[in-house]
Amino acid sequence: MNEPTVFIVDDDQAVARSLRWLIESVRLRVETYASAQAFIDGYDAARPGCLVLDVRMPGMSGIELQERLAAQRIRIPIIFITGHGDVQMAVRAVQAGAFDFVEKPFNDQDLLDRIQRAIARDGECRDRDLHQARLRTLFASLTPREREVLELVVDGLSNKAVANALGLSAKTVEVHRAKVMEKMHARSVSDLVKMAMQRQAWD
């Protein structure tokens, strides 16, 4: 289930089958869908991979599917395949957040490279999301007092300075600080600093 999958959405069944045959040659998992709607109905956002989409499709177009996914905060990378004269459309799609596009007729290596990059990007995003979620639960496990201590420690204050600032004894601060390190699974102050910075960056 955690193996990345290339999802192909193309109304032209022959093209979809040929893409599957090509992409499977590099031992990637492939699933094909005949319409944007079929994909929306069948896709579980937890599944990693990337989406290969024909810009022009009857019914819901590739661009509309992109909008629908964005509205649902589904961030699977999309590679658009465009035909003759649709490049303008593809450029707009990329500006709207699509990962990449290839113009028909495309070079197979080129398409496969882009797919690999998209899958890598998706993996990074999912790791980051996981990490962020983990950090959020870690921070949530701190008591208000511990959070105050953490913020001052991260700001570079010594135990003594923290004790002064919070009107506590140095010994008490020492205890809180050890508790924070333990709860956050931090091995050093610099670990803590990194986590705090990441949290700031994402919040």
Partner: protein
Amino acid sequence: MLPASDMLWLALVVLGGSLAAVLIVLGVVLARLRDTERRLDEKESRHESVLDRLQENEYRLRTIIESEPECVKLQAEDGTVLEINPAGLRLVDANQPADIIGRKIFSVVAPEYIDIYRENMRRVFAGEAMVYEFRAITLKNRVAWMETHAAPLRDARGNIYALLGITRDITEHKQAEEQARRHQTELARVARLSTMGEMATGIAHELNQPLSAIANFSRGCIRRLRGGGMSPVELIEPLEEVCEQAERAGDILRHVRDFVRKSEPRLKPMDVNQIVRAVVKFTEHEARQQRTLVRLHLDPQLPKVAADAIMIEQVMVNLVRNAIEAMSEANSARREIAIHSRLFGADSVEIEIVDSGPGIDGNLIDQVFDQFFTTKPEGVGMGLAISRSIIESHGGTVRAESSRDGGAILRFTLKISPQQSNRRERADSIHS
């Protein structure tokens, strides 16, 4: 009786609306008349007053029929004309009743309609009231389209003894219909031609599908073969797909060819200046939007050319549009199109379209007529290619040049219509 004949009056008043209604009434009245007559005959005219009334009625009815503006006639089962009113005589170009009464109706029905006419008659004599159309050839060999409302006439016992027909000339109506139909098909052709550009995009897209599928299947095979460890049997399925997709591409091309074959030109003597003016009208809106001035320098003395007007219009629309587009794309300060028409050699007329745009790059002049050659971001590159094939199918030539002032010049020739050149030769020999 009287109410019935009064109804007849009424019905005749609204004749324009419903000939069929008149017929039914007329049929009933006539049948009753005959019936009364027969009964009176049997009773040896003991009721003089009734007979008088009958004669009076029959007289009135006759007057009506005689003065009826439409052709009213009675026919026997074998097609013999029994009676016909003056309007009917006029309709078949008869000088006197004897010209047609006693003769078969088929003598004025066009040969290809005789069988249909017979069948219709048979149905009326089987009891049906009908409306039918046929082509008539009158006694003076005039061809006309006719429409007949026919009903069976029955005697008291219900036996059908004649066909009553009201016939009118619908030639004008038919011609209008025919013209409308022709106009319709011409419009369809125009629509087809004007969407040729869109069609080209469509074809490109359509062909791209099987071609990319073929490429993907083949590449997938090559990759697996390179990687090794693949049994040849596994390649059969994808290779079959490749064949299918190649056939699909072939089908698409066949469709295109059929489509193009259908647009063979139908040459007719045409006034080329009139075509130019029509084109200026079609493109007026775009020209105005792009602040482009169109000037005409047309030779009013030109002979007619042999052309399919709609196709030539299409060519000129393409050329004028290209000129408008070139000038607006180049943001030309002066935007002018001059269209000239003139005699060219002994047997042709030349049309020249000059614009004040950037002209065509000397290196590209040979390519602009190629299919799919375009320098426009959203261009299709079929306009000039189609134009050239149209002009060549007319026996003319088309060329592109850049003018000394920088703009583009597009010229094409059309052959003078053969009838026209004969007339010219005759005119020349008279003068010389």
